[in-house]
Amino acid sequence: MSISSHCDQEISGAFPIKALTHHHPSYAQQHYPGQLFVVEGTDGSGKSTQLSLLYQWLKSEGHSVVFSEWNSSPLVKDTTRRAKKRRLFTPTTFSLLHATDFADRIERNIIPPLKAGAIVLADRYIYTAFARDVARGCNRSWVRELYKFAIKPTAAFFFRTPLDVAIDRIVSTRPKLKFYEVGMDMDWAQEEEESFRIFQGRVLSEYDRMVKEFDFTVIDGTQPIPLQQRQIRAIVSSYLTKTREKAVLKK
């Protein structure tokens, strides 16, 4: 029984399916007229705040903007909710169900607007899965393979915030942290806060090693909010002027 075909990279030419001509694209191979900007970072890094400010601004500038959130597919929602409540997940199935959710989103709310030439803003993208799933013990290259169908973003902003700052923000603003959110499924610690700290620490180090791999634009998440927003707008603007002649950008 052949095992190699699951791992090696040399079998793709052997499957000429004539009835279907559409090709399954993989990361970095698509060229759609739209633009995709994503924000990443640990919980409490301030990325969602920045993304919604960016959204307001782009709208006011007259762009067609679509907002897409992690973990939001209606197809998978009930399954995820039930699995969290009944604690059915293992690291593998946690990873896979989130990949399913993402696949549904990309087919439904990301690719169509990109084809239509819109700007898509994603609050968390595949890198969230790479960070969390690997922190939970999934194989690094397997998780990357899993998300190979994803589209390479125009720019990925990584909001880097020291662990203590991020944890303080979360603990002070959120009354109750959830079981999987703090990584209690991993038995790292008895105490929730300790488990959360370990989990977020692992997540942060995964993010750090992805900066080069995926060419993240690093934003210092400890800076004042308006200052961060100015930096982001400047970068987004430069991409828009570069590729969209129609865009009229007023400063």
Partner: protein, 272 residues
């Protein structure tokens, strides 16, 4: 006892300890009679004293219900479909199949990863990608491919079963034909071709599913008996730590099982 062997990447947190069970796969396209054969095999195996777990696609606690709901609404996209089924598979692998194998059960599975691979590839998904992500699968002890000659033959079986053509079984999401019949034939033909292609790649044992249920069942019993033979041999060898000669065991178990196959209701079946 046998080492756990995965197609590519083992599941995280899986102890790669040897196990004594057997993983037996019944594969094939829709309407080849897989479910009937799994049920017959299960009854026979249990009557011969084997503990059996049977499982199949969309039966996971985690994702089964969600997949069925998405299928009913015809809302499952090409990519989401593959990953939802993989979630279902991984949940059953971790929570049902591996524990049962460790406990020495015979695991009978109605479809395994091959149906998922075939469905993905005929939908234009990169064959290399789908194989890589299904690399978490355990390599089975045997795969029996219930093969039928043509998609037209399958279509007649649908009509004889007095059911309507199903949306997904007809591949309606692919728009391959003018109506359900044409689409069904076109889609199932593509699947058949894909299964045939995988036969060599994965070492399927082909069973002619155009024959009667009884003849297919008898063929499967013969072949499954062979797989279990190894299981008994290794178990007894470990149990008696070499005091019994394997040749002797082989002869007794074979003869008992042979008569069980010819006449499942005989005493020999119970003894075996």
């Amino acid at each position: 006892m046998k080492e756990l062997k995965f197609y590519c990447t083992p599941l995280p947190g899986t102890e790669i300890k040897p196990y004594s069970g057997k993983l037996i796969v019944i594969e094939g396209t829709d309407y080849v009679g897989r479910t009937t054969q799994v049920n017959l095999l299960r009854t026979w195996l249990e009557s011969t004293g084997n503990a059996v777990l049977d499982t199949g696609m969309t039966r996971s606690v985690l994702a089964g219900r969600g997949i069925k709901k998405a299928r009913a609404g015809h809302t499952l996209g090409r990519l989401a479909m593959q990953l939802y089924y993989l979630t279902d598979f991984a949940d059953r692998l971790e929570n049902e199949i591996l524990p049962a194998l460790r406990a020495g059960f015979i695991v009978l599975t109605d479809r395994y990863i091959y149906s998922a691979l075939a469905r993905a590839v005929v939908r234009g998904i990169d064959p290399q990608w789908i194989r890589a992500i299904y690399g978490v699968a355990l390599v089975p002890d045997a795969v029996f491919y219930l093969r039928i000659h043509s998609a037209e033959e399958l279509a007649r079986r649908v009509i004889d079963s007095e059911r309507d053509f199903d949306y997904w079984e007809s591949g309606m999401d692919l728009r391959l034909g003018a109506d359900y019949y044409e689409s069904f034939v076109a889609y199932q033909s593509l699947l058949l071709r894909e299964f045939d292609r995988m036969s060599g790649e994965y070492g399927f044992e082909i069973v002619d599913a155009s024959r009667s249920v009884r003849r297919v069942a008898s063929k499967l019993r013969h072949s499954v008996a062979r797989v279990i033979e190894e299981k008994l041999l290794t178990e007894r060898a470990t149990f008696t730590t070499g005091s019994t000669r394997p040749e002797v065991i082989k002869r007794t178990t074979l003869s008992a099982q042979d008569s069980a196959i010819e006449n499942p209701k005989s005493d020999a079946a119970k003894v075996a």
